[in-house]
């Protein structure tokens, strides 16, 4: 597991056929496709990797170029789709026109337990469906009515989040005042979140705005009924895509820890509110929630630790690093758990590694995955020839270079055109990216997995997840349908 400043990582050797020079040349050629001004803007975002050279750092968290096909979403997407949406026992109102909520309805795979429509609302879409008159006269009154209707029809809802869409911020509505009023009237948290899509440069600001609202409205407002224990932890930044958090919690419980709160995959708002009493925060998606860890560290003195449960190597490293934060009992548990799973993992490797050895993967997704999944591919014998983020910051890239081979490509907010050119030049055996990219690469005859949504599969995290990950990667790369692509005519 990589930690900032950690020197344990060895520099990974160059991939056969790739080198820093070749990569630089490829980047240069790619940039030639742009008009001059755009070329200048894009150049700092692309670099060949050199883990030993700090100068390879790419620029990030900048505005997307107009007119290029970007994979990025918006602040609303970061707030609704990522942070708030997965909290299952609140009603999340997409406040504004109908579209934003409709497109994001059920398309992120943040699974939940609970009874749909009774104690779990993540699978539903609530919207104020703004009409012309709401733009003209403002939507605050409508929002009040919505809060009351929600409270009446969903009495077990533990709160309401109000996720603003673009018009709300532009027409001067005051959702904060409305939310405050309704929270008082309805006696549940009503959290206003000014995550209008035009704010910031990507979904990243949406995460941050959501973090702020959790900080201001939620943290510390509840306490667990039972006394705090020495093994109480919280799991931060796991959104339970395809069941990931269930798989991760299973491992953590097997080593003897109590996961008291899930942020926010299959999350419950009162558990989140009571997180301030745990002993350690384990953070999965650093990008979207490191701020929360810092807040809790500062305000409540809770230490935090990054971990990575993708693939047996990283799981093992992570478990031991986690154990370091606890007593011998946990350390012993960790070794027992590792011993239990080692042969199971070996069997998976024995099955799939021979079929995947040396295969090249090019990654372009968001959050933590462009770096965290590399180890899992490597466990399968694969090499990462390129990786990039939709909405990373420089601290993400700091954590990424050491994980990648020298001479591999690093790209930030890559345009579809760049990805295409890279793929044509490098000929990866697998492209791991999102839905908007999937069919582009498949048309090129390149195996592809959607790695935001696990391509309707999962979990991929934890020991249980690796079995599925390995199967899926093999299935994608070795599908016999690829033999059919070339027509004999």
């Amino acid at each position: 597991m990589y930690q900032p400043g950690d020197k344990n990582n060895k520099v990974k050797p160059e991939v056969e056929g790739l080198s820093k020079e070749k990569a630089a040349k490829l980047i240069e050629e790619t940039l030639e496709l742009y008009p001059a001004k755009a070329k200048k803007k894009r150049a700092p975002h692309l670099a060949p990797n050199d883990p030993e050279d700090k100068g390879c750092a790419v620029r990030s968290n900048k505005k997307t170029l107009p007119g290029v096909m970007s994979a990025r979403g918006c602040a609303y997407a970061g707030a609704k789709g990522v942070v708030w949406g997965p909290i299952r026992d609140m009603v999340h109102i997409s406040h504004g026109p109908v579209g934003c909520g409709w497109y994001s309805w059920g398309t992120r795979r943040n699974l939940t337990t609970g009874v749909p429509g009774v104690s779990s609302f993540s699978g539903m879409q609530f919207t104020s469906d703004f009409q012309e008159k709401d733009i003209v006269y403002g939507g605050d009154k409508k929002l009040e009515t919505i809060c009351r209707e929600v409270k009446e029809l969903f009495p077990l809802a533990k709160g309401i989040s109000v996720l603003s869409e673009c018009p709300v911020g532009l027409i001067g509505d005051d959702i904060n005042a409305t939310a405050k009023k309704m929270a008082g009237e309805l006696e549940v948290p009503v959290v206003p979140c000014n995550c209008e899509g035009f704010r910031g440069v990507s979904q990243s600001l949406g995460h941050h705005i959501s973090n702020d609202t959790i900080r201001d409205h939620i943290i510390g407002t509840r306490e667990f009924d039972e006394e705090p224990g020495p093994y109480d932890i919280a799991l931060i930044g796991d959104y339970n895509i395809g069941g990931d958090i269930w798989s991760a919690v299973k491992v953590l419980e097997e080593i003897g820890l109590n996961v008291k709160a899930q942020w926010t995959g299959d999350g419950q708002i009162e558990h989140i509110a009571a997180t301030h009493k745990v002993k350690l925060n384990l953070i999965h998606c650093y990008r979207s929630m490191n701020y929360m860890c810092k807040v809790m560290e500062e305000k409540y003195g809770i230490p935090w630790l990054e971990f990575n449960f993708f693939g047996p190597t990283k799981i093992k490293e992570s478990l031991r690093a986690i154990a370091e934060r606890f007593d011998d009992k946990i350390k012993e548990n960790v070794e027992r758990v590792i011993a239990k799973y080692d042969p199971i993992m070996q069997a998976i490797l024995d099955e799939y590694r021979p079929r995947l050895e040396g295969k090249k993967v090019m990654i372009f997704v968001g959050g933590l995955r462009p770096r965290h999944t590399i180890g899992a591919y490597e466990d399968l014998g694969m090499v990462c020839v390129g990786s990039g983020y939709e909405f990373a910051h420089s601290d993400d890239y700091d954590r990424t270079y050491p994980e990648m081979p020298k001479g591999s490509l690093v790209f930030d907010d890559a345009s579809e055109k760049e990805m295409e050119v890279f793929a044509e030049a490098i000929k990866p055996d697998l492209v791991a990216s999102g839905i908007k990219e999937k069919y582009v690469f498949q048309k090129m005859g390149l195996p592809f997995r959607q790695m935001h949504s696990w391509d309707y599969s999962g979990p991929y995290h934890g020991y249980d997840g690796f079995a599925i990950f390995a199967r899926d990667i093999d299935m994608a790369i070795n599908s016999p349908t690829w033999k059919l692509v070339k027509s004999p005519f």
């Binding site: 007119g67 979403g73 602040a75 497109y103 994001s104 469906d129 899509g197 509840r222 005859g445």
Partner: protein, 485 residues
């Protein structure tokens, strides 16, 4: 001293069970129907995704969103998921400063970059919320873009205002299509000239199979035709190792010439109202708005109209096809007779599906449109009243799929027809859902099978009848489990 922090309270299974039961009650239905402001699980998207669909229907077309990049990502991914195909489109990535300065510079830069990077032949521009609210003047912006050389003078840039807070995806489709046709046909009208062709407008239709079927039928009729906004290749292109940005689409020259067509038919009244208004004003030839040809009678009407307009007989091959479908409908009638259906989706499709059900002797028992006009309500009710099978059926306009859940728990049906978004109501009410419409993101290939024309009637019939038979076999007791059905 501050007040004590509240304890975490867990919801008990008993509470869940009690409330679940309550959500199935008559009381809940009434409360639910009384909702004034909250929309829950709507069956409609916003204008721009419709605009993008229309924009994809033309040769070399790169849809261009004037607005935030997040909007474009949503439209694109919705189309990706439905078609399982690429949906290349760009945005000019407006951000906060746009609120202050407007989006003109974004548009300039966006046009320049997109033109260079993706070599389109046309970029239909449409708006998401932000520029609509701040009042960007697209007419001026585009003029300036040309003047300042951000885009060649003659490069086609049709544009449409598609505010998300007004209408639904069908209205965005309409606005964009009208804008494209306006742009491409400008100055092309030649008095007395006639291409001899039929212009066919499918409307907001995300079934590529339907487009292919229109073309097959018109080919069989030997009627030369131009499908305006033909997405059939765009969203159903071969996988052959080469990625093409712009497969298919209506050729631009053909679209331009459409103004001199012999006739123009739209098969979606509600989704092409402004387009057809424009066509009525500007186009040569005759103009007709017909119902979507779903079912035998609507297909008859469509072919008859084409036949009349072009003086071409309906060929024997199509007559035989008709006869075969009538045969299939007769054979399968008893499996659909008096079955109750809930249908939801867009107005034109609902009217056409209801027509098909009525001619099969089935009941369009609950018809739900989550955003529709009074005109639609009236037209649908008139259709239902025209048939004994429409008696006692219900029309629900401006009601959503959470309403539908309550409605179906109160007054159930045998089957639902609609898009994937209905699957929760289907599950929670124990109703089988046959997927029709947009989007379908949890099954494969459905959009590749036509539901229009005689072949489409056969498909609808097969899906529904065999689903009923599946259910019978799956749920009957041993003593009723039989070889024949």
């Amino acid at each position: 001293m501050s007040e004590a922090v509240k304890k975490v309270v867990e919801i008990t299974p008993e509470e869940e069970a009690r409330v679940l039961e309550w959500t199935k009650s008559k009381e809940y239905l009434e409360k639910n129907l009384a909702r004034e402001a909250t929309v829950i699980n709507p069956a409609h998207g916003c204008q721009p995704v419709g605009a993008q669909l229309a924009a994809h229907g033309f040769e070399g077309s790169l849809p261009f969103v004037h607005g935030s990049q997040g909007c474009a990502s949503y439209y694109r991914s919705t189309l990706n998921r439905h078609f399982r195909e690429p949906a290349p489109a760009v945005s000019d990535a407006m951000t906060e400063d746009g609120a202050v300065f407007g989006g003109q510079n974004n548009l300039f830069e966006g046009l320049e970059n997109a033109y260079k990077l993706y070599s389109p032949k046309i970029m239909p521009i449409f708006t998401s919320c932000m520029p609509e609210i701040i009042g960007d003047d697209l007419t001026a912006f585009i003029k300036n873009a040309r003047l300042k050389g951000h885009i060649p003078e003659d490069f086609p840039l049709p544009y449409a205002n598609t505010p998300s807070f007004n209408g639904t995806h069908i209205h965005g489709y309409d606005a964009m299509l009208k804008a494209i046709l306006e742009d491409l046909t400008a100055g092309k009208r030649v008095e007395g000239a006639c291409t001899g062709k039929l212009n066919l407008i499918a409307g907001f239709d995300a079934c590529t199979g339907n487009y292919r079927e229109y073309k097959r039928l018109l080919d069989a009729m030997e009627v030369p035709h131009t499908l305006l906004a033909d997405i059939s290749e765009t969203f159903d292109s071969p996988l052959d190792g080469e990625y093409q940005y712009y497969p298919g689409g209506t050729p631009l020259a053909e679209a331009a010439e459409s103004i001199n067509g012999k006739a123009t038919i739209s098969v979606q009244k509600y989704a092409t109202a402004s387009t057809m208004k424009f066509i009525n004003q500007e186009y040569g030839g005759k103009h007709e708005v017909l119902p979507m040809p779903i079912g035998v009678q609507a297909t008859d009407a469509f072919l008859l109209k084409v036949s009349q307009l072009f003086g071409k007989p309906v060929p024997e091959s199509i007559k035989a096809e008709r006869g075969r479908v009538v045969d299939a409908m007769t054979d399968a009638h008893q499996y659909l007779h008096n079955k109750k259906f809930a249908i939801f989706g867009d107005p034109d499709q609902l009217l056409a599906l209801a027509g098909f059900l009525l001619e099969m002797g089935a009941k369009p028992y609950h018809v739900l449109c989550s955003r529709a006009s009074k005109k639609f309500d009236k037209e649908m009710k008139a259709l239902l009243e025209s048939s004994p099978y429409g008696k006692g059926c219900h029309v629900w306009t401006n009601k959503d799929l959470w309403h539908l859940r309550s409605i179906l728990l109160d007054d159930p049906v045998d089957m639902m027809l609609g898009d994937t978004h209905g699957k929760f109501a289907a599950r929670e009410t124990g109703t089988p859902l046959i997927r029709i419409g947009f989007p379908i993101i949890d099954r494969v290939n459905v959009h590749r099978y036509p539901i229009i024309g005689y072949q489409g009637a056969l498909n609808l019939l097969t899906w529904t009848a065999n689903k009923f038979l599946d259910i019978k076999d799956d749920t009957c007791e041993d003593q009723w489990f039989e070889m024949m059905r």
